[in-house]
Symmetry: C2
Subunit: 184 residues, 2 copies
């Protein structure tokens, strides 16, 4: 009965990702030992690492989901929704990203995997920006990739401020970003 | 001869800060053990901790110097100089900030100390922004503090991208930031 088995696997995978997200947020990435992962997930290390080869791949699975959620929000709604979503994230979870950023920066194979975490979504976002430029809704004196890099950089900046425990006021920020990318 | 003694103390302090900066950049903050600090600084732990009560206070001393340098650059030149200076920083050193950001975020007394690391410089920057608003060189529909928070957030975003090993193209970024803060 492959259908049952597939659904069982999907449930287990979900259980591991959800538990690991809690463990990472609570203890940090380095602090989330195998014992703590077992505790939050409610499965043995044998079962967990049957689904994911290592701790990094669990984090990567979570990052894939986050990126997909943020990217879809952007495509389906607008950048303001993305900003507000970011500002409502758990600072402990955001801190996990910042804990791993240097690891990504110093290990080329991780960085490559990171950049390629969803090429189709990247293409869709790039195409959306290009389309808005053609329609005169975004400035066209910069490349779509330059505008996207800027909008991503804003999200990174929000992540730092939230992790440092500072409030992020999204409305003035959104005014500033809108002026930055508007047709000049 | 208090003058000689003062100058000796200043030299030692300089030696500790310079060595610690190298140790933090090379090994990360957590990885910079007391033994590694001794090695990079060239002084015994007794001597080092005679000048600074703990590792955090050494990092804080370095952060004070960085903040002062960046703030002065901003006041004496312009934001473009700050951006270019940031982009030329050592990603390993920038990574130390990101490693500590969650610590700052979760420990209120550190956060307070962090915010207050140079109140006079904060005031000067705020006054500069207000003056540029009065002269019509910056948008005045937002508070000076909101504009400063945005410019700081851009620097934080640059820090993340550099730490993750991505290039930061300062010229398109500067165009975008200039449009964001220009009179509307």
């Amino acid at each position: 009965m492959p259908k049952v088995s597939d659904s069982h696997r999907a449930d287990r995978r979900r259980q591991i990702l959800d538990g690991a997200r809690r463990a990472f947020a609570r203890h940090g990435y380095e602090g989330a030992t195998v014992a703590r992962l077992e505790q939050e997930v409610g499965l043995s290390r044998g079962a967990i690492f049957n689904y994911f080869p290592n701790k990094w791949s669990i984090f990567y699975g979570l990052a894939l989901e986050d990126y997909d959620r943020v990217g879809r929000l952007w495509l389906d709604e607008e950048y303001g929704s993305v900003l507000r979503h970011m500002a409502s994230e758990d600072p402990d979870w955001i801190g996990v990203y910042l804990e791993l950023i240097r690891k990504i920066g110093t290990q080329p194979e991780l960085r490559e995997q990171w950049v390629q975490r969803n090429p189709d979504l990247n293409d869709e976002l790039m195409e959306r920006v290009a389309e808005l430029q053609r329609r005169g809704e975004l400035r066209d004196d910069l490349e779509p990739g330059e505008l996207l890099a800027f909008l991503g950089l804003i999200l990174d900046g929000i992540a730092v401020r939230m992790s440092a425990g500072f409030p992020v006021e999204t409305e003035p920020l959104l005014k500033l970003v809108s002026s930055a990318i508007a047709p000049q």
